[in-house]
Point group: C2
Chain length 76, copies 2
């Protein structure tokens, strides 16, 4: 089975990487870019039947820093 994990910075947490992307897009001539936030996208290939709680625990223990990041899990 496959699981997709999306890790995003919590609102209010500064995102210097996102700012850098925003400035670079403006410098390339793209107008109307009002904000950019960069996160992580992790695809896990797991043994069939891995429980959802187990995936959430992977996120809390390793994949996301829950102090500053949110995560979302999609099981496909």
């Amino acid at each position: 089975m496959k699981a997709r994990v999306y890790v995003t910075l919590k609102p209010g947490v500064l995102d210097p990487q996102g700012r850098a992307i925003q400035h670079a897009l403006e410098n390339l001539g793209f107008g109307g870019v009002e904000g950019v936030r960069q996160g992580k996208f992790i695809e896990l290939e797991l043994a069939d039947g891995t429980p959802r709680e187990s995936i959430d625990e992977m996120c809390r223990k390793l994949l996301a820093n829950t102090v500053i990041e949110n995560f979302k899990v999609e099981v496909a």
Copy 2:
């Protein structure tokens, strides 16, 4: 308007970061982790009416390295 961009390594491209995550999960005691691929997830806040082609161009010019990465755009 919001656009979400998912950037993933093309199949066959080595992903040392994904391997490191896989080993770390195993060391934490999570079984059955058969593979991990790490990608990027970028949220763009754009002026309303920004055409889809313009977002694709941002990906090709800056957000993704199309030699080794694929990208997917979702407009919300």
